[in-house]
């Protein structure tokens, strides 16, 4: 193809980015405007954009009005922000894992990190918290922070082991297998715990496994945001070596990539993203694996200069969409997030993959 068509496809890239960016904005807005409680649009806008609303105590507003303000500012906005951040984080993590392991099936959970987080939470929910009568359903709550901490710790522990192993094992495929094995181990331990737990606790744990962007409050976001921000920044720095890695590890090294160091940074960043999102939102499946493929399919390239920002945006869009859909049922009903992500996402990804003839190589 000639110079001209290159320019053309460059414009094509920009156009696609603009469209996706537009989608992200719209979805974010939709997530905030629409929820299970009906609030008129102009009221939402006034709440979002007039400082008077933010600052006034209940005195200035009716009970209903201040209730609406609380819903928007304290429930919907954090939920939308969390969805956006989580989507971005998971997509980036999945992308890293796919490039590092040269495996299209890789995702944030491939190193067993998520399973580690699951294990931590299961330990807290199912085993600790004292014995309960057979059918007592609720979870002792002083533990919300404990649950989050346990998830991070569990993810971190598995990460530590994987890193240690990666220093000594040269082959990346072996690393993948080790991570997979850890995942199985952690999951089987969880199943064991479920087996011996009373129905009520299992319910509580199950609820957690459905995943949710609505479990966070602003304080949580003050942690989530910087972590994901730093990870994204590092991710951008990694674009160059990740591109080199596309040619394979040997070529990458011959071009100057410090392989062991890069590998470790990629693993740490990828795991950090997966762990922190899981800690605050529960295990969210599908986004990490599917979004990078979506990005590659839409932009027809594996160049990380394009795919990293594309994955970030598409990840955010996907998560926001899933969040919106899971709140669609009327009367406050709510669909499990993980079901929604897969149900919506799979057809889209399959369609994109088929169109882009990704059969030959996914990179």
């Amino acid at each position: 193809m000639k110079q001209g068509s290159y320019k053309h496809s460059k414009a094509g890239i920009i156009l696609r980015f603009l469209l996706i960016l537009g989608a992200v904005f719209s979805l974010f807005a939709l997530d905030v405007f629409k929820g299970s409680v009906d609030i008129p649009l102009e009221r939402v806008l006034r709440i979002l954009f007039s400082p008077a609303e933010w600052l006034s105590e209940t005195g200035g507003l009716t009970l209903e009005q201040s209730g609406q303000r609380d819903i928007i500012l304290l429930f919907r906005l954090p939920r939308a922000v969390t969805a956006l951040l989580a989507g971005m984080g998971l997509a980036l993590s999945g992308l890293f894992m796919q490039t590092l392991f040269r495996n299209p099936l890789a995702g944030p959970s491939v190193l067993g990190i998520n399973a580690g987080a699951n294990l931590g939470v299961a330990l807290v929910v199912l085993v600790m918290g004292g014995a309960a009568g057979g059918f007592v359903a609720t979870l002792p709550f002083g533990m919300k922070a404990l649950v989050t901490g346990a998830a991070v710790f569990g993810a971190g522990a598995v990460l530590g082991v994987v890193l240690l192993v990666s220093r000594f094992i040269g082959s990346v495929t072996l690393l993948l297998l080790v991570g997979l094995m850890f995942g199985y181990l952690a999951n089987s331990l969880v199943t064991l715990m479920i087996h011996f737990s009373a129905a009520g606790r299992v319910q509580a744990y199950l609820q957690w496994t459905f995943g949710s962007f609505g479990a966070t409050i602003w304080n949580d976001i003050y942690i989530l945001l910087p972590v994901i921000g730093v990870a994204i920044f590092l991710g951008i720095l990694l674009i160059k070596p990740l591109n080199a890695l596309l040619l394979g590890e040997e070529y990458a090294r011959s071009m100057g990539v410090a392989l062991i160091r890069v590998r470790m940074i990629v693993i740490v960043v990828g795991a950090l993203l997966a762990g922190v999102v899981t800690a605050f939102c529960g295990p969210v499946t599908f986004v990490g694996v599917a979004v990078p493929h979506l990005a590659r399919g839409i932009f027809r390239t594996a160049d990380h200069r394009t795919i990293v920002p594309a994955s970030l945006l598409l990840g955010g869009a996907t998560a926001l969409t899933a969040d919106i859909v899971s709140h669609l049922p009327g009367q406050g009903g709510i669909l499990p997030l993980n079901s929604v992500t897969a149900l919506l996402g799979v057809p889209v990804v399959v369609w994109v993959l088929i169109r882009s003839r990704a059969g030959r190589s996914f990179i």
């Binding site: 290159y6 040997e250 100057g256 030959r360 190589s361």
Partner: protein
Amino acid sequence: MKLIDARSIHTGYRHGFRGSVTISKHISASIFSGEVVGLIGPNGCGKSTLLRSLSGLQSVLDGKVYIGETEISHMSPLERARKISVVLTERVHAGHLKADTIVSLGRYPHTRLSGGMTAHDRYVVEHSFSAVGAESLRYRTIDELSDGELQKVMVARALAQEPQIIMMDEPTAFLDVTRKVELMDLLETIARTQGTAVLVSSHDLELLMRISSRVWLMDESGRLHKGTPQDGEFKSLIRNVFRIPAHYVSF
């Protein structure tokens, strides 16, 4: 100018905690700028291992490899990449990448952290494409290229690294005759016109002898014999090592 100096190196593999396997012992060799060194030998004798050891892809079990004045293990991957680039045998699996992107990757050791390309970088990339005669392939994606075209692109990438020496491990293995000749010719031209040294291993003896200024022959025990394509004794040594009857070959 002496680019690479291997001083009594032992090549081989380390197996983690279980010790190591030595392929070759006491190899001393050098490569000078502008020359084409052909590396030949029967399968499995250790050519690849030697090449990888000299390029830094593998560490040596004993002895030292010097790039200029510096020992190779004291160099960072980036420093090494500015001196040596490689072309390997297997086809790269990066189907969705454009040839241009791949050759631009060759600028890796020279570009800033952000990966942004300066005008000079872009010039080098363009020049690399024309040096290998692959201008028309520039905006094609890899999965659209034939093996021969792809190898040209990989050579262009190796050139874009602006190395002092390019090392190639059986680059013509999967190419048809025309492409083999083309590629070998190209290597000779590059060495001649750019002053870049080329170390190339191959089983295409006749083509290699034609373009090499010096030849390294590795025998089954991993010993390295050095000579020139013109040297008659050396040629009979080659025939012995490969067990080729005299009347089979033209050299």
